[in-house]
């Protein structure tokens, strides 16, 4: 993700030469292809481009940089939420400023955010600003796209790439772009030849694979910003997260889960396109056989550099005993049952400790020792992280340990989804 690399380099002075080389190569490769047109686009629109800076008030030095652009003539600026997230959480410590094309520095104020799609609108406190209009076209694969931004604080650049459609396998729509995105270009526009914005640069997945937030979410946010002027942005985040999890969890739980076989057990399989699954099995010198199925959402929602949310993660371990005997075998099961890998953030300021319930549950002849744990988000009331772990107690020499992790969900949805999840397990008596 662009922001993950980006955050590692947020003190921009420490640019590694690797990125510079990478960037130079890309520029060269692309510019040789269609120099004239790219140059024209850059010249024509460069006055709409801005660098967004998050400045530490105490030291007056920049702490985060990103890109942005005007979307109307009243000085409204669009950028990524993750560029300005520090200001949202520490408004007393960080302020927002932007640098326009002529090098002048202005203060900006936060207008509205869309934390789900990673967008933010700022008020640039300027009039008669030149702006980029938001596209209303639908594009075909292969359309040429110009991506603008200020990578690694090197100055405004333009990168040419191609449109590759809307990705099907992220939870929230993203445009897939074949172009080099680099840290610092976050929040910059990607435009087509007529100068209209088709997406906002948001993330990269390595060599020439970039992701854009589709322009329709920006239009929607601009519309929302005209109606409400929030001043408690943490509350805005809270409401957006609650609404979002409600939507995707209700969708998923509204129909039976797709399932697969693991030993004598039927278990939930790949629940949706935006979930990735892997499998692995081990049968070496260990006195037991283990097969592992692991599924997780491909992307999550960035809240701040300590906090990601909106993940669904579940795994199944199927064990069969070779020559341990039931006592040692169940000791092994206990070690997996007692230490589920949650892969969730662990900051004391953001979360309470987990509160758990353990009991024996029976469902269609499956006997399970089940533990259900919740912890609350301290800054977002009503949102929880949930860990559900269960181990089967049907046979002396075979057991299934399953773990479901949901982050950033309401209590009601945690329970509803867990019931649906546990209810989809079946055991066939051998």
């Amino acid at each position: 993700m662009l922001y993950s690399i980006f955050n590692r380099h947020q003190n921009v002075i420490g640019i590694t030469s690797r990125y510079i080389v990478l960037l130079a190569l890309c520029l060269f490769a692309n510019s040789s292809a269609s120099l004239a047109s790219t140059e024209g686009v850059f010249k024509q629109y460069q006055d709409r481009l801005l660098q967004i800076r998050i400045v530490d008030k105490a030291t007056n030095s920049k702490s985060t940089i990103g890109s942005g652009f005007f979307i109307d003539n009243n000085g409204t600026i669009a950028t990524n939420y993750h560029v300005i997230s520090k200001h949202v959480f520490e408004p007393k410590q960080y302020r927002i400023e932007y640098v326009s094309n002529d090098g002048t520095v202005h203060d900006a104020e936060l207008l509205h955010i869309d934390v789900i799609h990673d967008l933010a609108l700022l008020d640039g406190d300027a009039i008669d600003t030149p702006f980029l209009k938001i596209s209303d076209q639908s594009l075909g694969k292969g359309v040429r796209i110009y991506t603008l931004g200020n990578p690694l604080d090197l100055g405004m650049t333009i990168v040419e790439g191609t449109y590759n459609g809307i990705t099907q396998d992220t939870m929230h729509e993203r445009i897939l772009l074949s172009s080099a995105l680099n840290p610092g270009m976050s929040g910059g526009p990607s435009i087509i030849e007529d100068g209209s914005v088709i997406g906002i640069n948001v993330a990269t997945a390595g060599n020439s694979i970039g992701f854009l937030v589709p322009q329709k979410f920006l239009s929607q946010l601009a519309l929302d910003a005209k109606q409400v002027k929030p001043d408690n942005f943490l509350n805005v985040i809270r409401k957006q997260l609650i609404k979002n999890q409600n939507k995707y969890l209700t969708d998923l739980a509204s129909k039976p889960f797709p399932t697969k076989q693991l030993g004598q057990y039927t278990v939930p399989a790949k629940l949706a396109d935006f979930i990735n699954c892997w499998g692995d099995s081990k049968d070496g010198s260990a006195p037991y056989r283990k097969s592992n199925d692991y599924c997780a959402t491909k992307n999550n929602i960035y809240i701040n550099s300590y906090l990601n949310t909106g993940t669904i993660r579940y795994n199944h371990y199927h064990f069969s005993d070779k020559d341990m005997g039931k006592f040692r075998f169940y000791k092994l099961i206990g070690s997996y049952f007692g230490a589920p890998s949650t892969s969730l953030p662990t900051s004391k300021d953001d979360f309470t400790e987990y509160d758990c319930k353990t009991d024996y549950v029976v469902h269609k002849a499956i006997k399970l020792k089940t533990a259900f744990c919740l912890r609350q988000y301290k800054k977002f009331e009503g949102l929880f992280d949930m860990v559900l772990t269960a181990a089967t107690l049907n046979e002396d020499d075979k057991s299934l340990v399953t773990t479901l992790v949901l982050s950033g969900v309401s209590y009601e949805n945690a329970v509803k989804f867990s019931k649906h999840y546990l209810g989809s397990f079946v055991w066939k008596r051998p």
Binding site: K331, I333, K348, V362
Partner: protein, 343 residues
Amino acid sequence: MEAPLIIEILDRFGKVKDRHKVTKFPLRIGRSYKNDIIIDDNYVSPEHVELMLDGDGHILATDLHSDNGMFTLHPLVRHDILTLEEDQRIRIGHTDVRVRSEDFDVKETFFDHGKPSELHLLMTSVLFLPLIWALTAGILLANQYFAVTHEVHFNQVLGAVLPTFIVIIVWTFIWSIVSKIITHKFYFAYHGIFVGLLLSGFYFIELAFEYLEFIFPISGLADLLIIFSDIAFTYILLYGHLRQSTHFNKRKTRLSSAIATSLIVGVAYLIVYVNEPQYQSQPVYSSIMKPPVFVMKKPVTIDQFFSNTSQLAEPLVEKKSAQDKNDPEDRDKDAPADKKLDP
């Protein structure tokens, strides 16, 4: 009182060190070798006290201007001159002096020469010791073997058990030496059998607690019960060793074992408490697993399981609101924002 009289010299614990039968008065008591009764106590002056017999047959004790003085006990009062009653004790330095007449009543004490109890014979039997230690070693090895969840390498199991066993042997030696010094009896077999039995018992109890927690899946149940058994076992261990190694009576042994136990267990749990992480970032619940046959609690349905999980969410909300009350500024900030967002 009439001569001859018996002058008893006692140490400060009340134990008689010396007895002198005297007929000739006056007599002098002190550290100097010129005295009639010489006392080996640094806090007694060279010439400390003179005892005289008055006309009525009373004994008069006179302090010979000693540095540390002459005292009566209960209450401790300093005297320059004092008439002594029969059996009265006076203190000079760290030594007590008591005067008794020849007629002082001494009773017969019956001593039972019967056989010691079967239990005592068994506990001090040199043959029983290897048996108990073999049992202990077996339990330690089994305990280790059942904890291994990978391929079993017997040398690893043995390696894990050996340090514990060495501690048992060293511990037995230490107590044997203590009892040899204090009671002049080595009692190696007794101490070895005692610690072996107790440790075996401890492992059994611990295992029983694990099964108990598996049957009633309450988080930390076994850990909680183990705290109590820690206290009980430490107390019994110390009591048993002290009883055989010292001349303490039962009450004194109980008291000293209780004090030592509270110190040891207290310090141990203090260390555990200090090292505990302030914030537990991983879920903690009862994770003990045993084979299916030990599931004795009636399983609930999925709906029943989730029927009262709202408790897990509620206390957190209360905590949150408690925090808000502590921080009125934050609460005020939240309020108007909510109003604006929900017109």
